[in-house]
């Protein structure tokens, strides 16, 4: 396996991806035939209503599921064909995740949670937790370092989630409705934070949402209806993050 080629070609390439789910005796086609490429540094929004197949597409992109047909490459690596072990390695080396329901591990402190991807990489405890504390301070959680998720508000948990997604300096961060559970004020904070991180390190963000407000943050908007891409355009009115 060659290392991912991150410079010359699009960071994400989706070729003829089709995804079917068997439900009972019937087969439901969630993605019909998706072709998509995302360049490095883009904030790409996959926009669609529920049932449009946007979450399924995210799963294919992030290697959570294997497509029924077609291929997904990230940095040139065909992740849809990697085995579980290589996929795990690829995840902690090149991918970050921000989840709708934060998904912090309940028995770990904020610092430990943020340091988790580095732990999977085998970084020693002192080193990774120092990095985690630094990042938590940047997202404004300096006073919550040793708190457990249940002791934090939703917004705080999501900020820790963002810190966790970015700690390993991934090439691509997947954000699945990252503000779905948050109020509008916090939503703005969180989105600003994600975008500023991405711009600082020239990282690629795949943002999945059904909220047009959120789509405004993206540099490219991919609209999905019934498992098909109906539009794919650069966002002229891109909203730049508020200066923190």
């Amino acid at each position: 396996m060659n290392g991912p080629d991150l410079r010359s070609r699009p960071i994400i390439e989706v070729k003829d991806v089709r995804k079917e789910y068997p439900i009972g005796d019937e087969t439901v086609v969630a993605l019909k035939r998706i072709n998509l490429s995302v360049s490095r540094g883009e904030i790409c929004c996959i926009f669609g209503t529920s049932g449009s197949g946007k979450s399924t597409l995210l799963n294919q992109l992030a290697g959570m599921e294997k497509p029924t047909r077609g291929e997904v490459r990230i940095g040139g690596v065909p992740i849809s064909r990697l085995n579980e072990h290589h996929l795990a390695a690829f995840r902690h080396q090149h991918l970050g995740f921000v989840f709708q329901s934060y998904n912090l591990l309940p028995n770990l402190t904020a610092t430990e949670n943020v340091a988790l991807p580095l732990m999977f990489r085998g970084v020693p405890k002192a080193q990774r937790e120092a990095a985690a504390r630094k990042l938590l301070t940047r997202v404004g959680l300096a006073h919550r370092l040793d708190h457990f998720p249940r002791q934090m508000s939703g917004g705080q948990q999501q900020r820790a989630g963002i810190a966790r997604a970015f700690i390993a300096r991934p090439d691509v961060v997947f954000a699945d409705e990252p503000t779905g559970n948050l109020d509008s004020k916090t939503t703005v904070e969180i989105m600003d934070m994600i975008c500023s991180f991405a711009r600082d390190y020239h990282q690629t963000i795949i943002l999945v949402t059904h909220d047009p407000e959120m789509a405004a943050y993206a540099s490219r908007i991919v609209k999905l209806i019934d498992g098909e891409i109906v539009s794919n355009q650069v966002n002229q009115k891109e909203r730049f993050p508020h200066e923190a």
């Binding site: 799963n59 989840f99 085998g122």
Partner: protein
Amino acid sequence: MKQKDMLRICLQNLMRRKSRTFLTVLGVLIGCCSIVIMVSLGIGMKEAQDRTLAEMGDLTIITVSAPQGGRGKVKLDDGLLRRLRALPGVAALTPKLTLDVDSIRLLTGSGNRYVADWTTVVGVDTAALDQMGYRLTDGALPKREGEVLVGQYLAYSFKDTLRPEGRNMIDRWSGEFDETGKPVDPPPPYLDPLKKPLTLEIETQSGKITLPFTPVGAVKEDYSKGSETSEGILVNMPDLLKLMEKTQGRKGKKPVYDSVMVKVKSIEQVEPVEREIKAMGYPTESMESIRKPMEKEARQKQMMLGGLGAISLFVAALGITNTMIMSISERTREIGIMKSLGCYVTDIRVMFLSEAGAIGLIGGLIGCVISLIASITINLVSLGPSVDNLLPAIVGGETVTRVSVIPPWLLLFAIFFSILIGLGSGYYPANKAVRIPALEAIKSE
């Protein structure tokens, strides 16, 4: 993931559900205890048995005798000694020959004041006695011609000719006896035979033969080796053969022995060596015929006891599996999150296996400690609860028969087995955990 991190996560997860971990550990602990205690009782039983057997005689000695009504060929002669020595597993041997005469007297002391009217004179290979398991209570083994060993209580055979008849002997059996029937503090004899030269007086048809001997050592009484160790005299075989030539006038004849005692290197080799000797056509005798069935029975009992103990450990294994399955279904989402963040599948498997193994290890360790305490308690109760008995109850001793004996290998085995049970019962849940897809992380609650 680093091993240190793995260990930390494992302990963290065990500490999360303290009462559940505690109960599961308790199950393993009880199982481990029951195995250790049961087996220790079995070992205690076997030890007591071995001790009884050892009191009856040396377990590694085979006595070879001449075939009944044997014709000329199968004789106990030097040729046989050579063949026996060549057998694998034979450590030492000695021929035995008893001086066969009508009348024999022992004289000692100034002016032959002390006289013994009867004794047994037995020829042995004195150089082999140490290896054969003969013990000296005094003096040393004979090295020169004319030097002999006396039985431990030979002194009591002498009467003092200067005292009136009827009150001129000391009765070793006149005092009190202990529970095994041995005299306690017998009165001291008139003399110490090692201090003075000894004269042997033999009546034969051709007249009286007198021979001087120098006693150089006294052997410990051991009836399994012959009564001469109590009140007889052991002489070196060449000396006896010379003596026989004088008494019986059989000059130049090849010696034929009464019996041969063969010492085998280890208990395991007694049976094969005995079989070989029997195959040569000689009747043999050893403790093996008694020991074998007893050992078999003891082993059966031990297996039974251990099996009973093992059942409870297997029940504990079910407990571990149950606990692990519970915790996996609780942590399904967590496992999904870890996978989506890039945790290796093998790490997840190791994580769950180490949790199950740790439950086994902790249960095994505590179980061993409790078993030791229980074992000591059992021994104390059986020996009589007093501070003096505390040490014997723990370490045992030459004269102490413990009910429950826990050798170190048993503890090691118990801990190892507990870990194994833990790992074994964690195997299925760990595989279950591994199969949880990363997608679980995205599912909304």
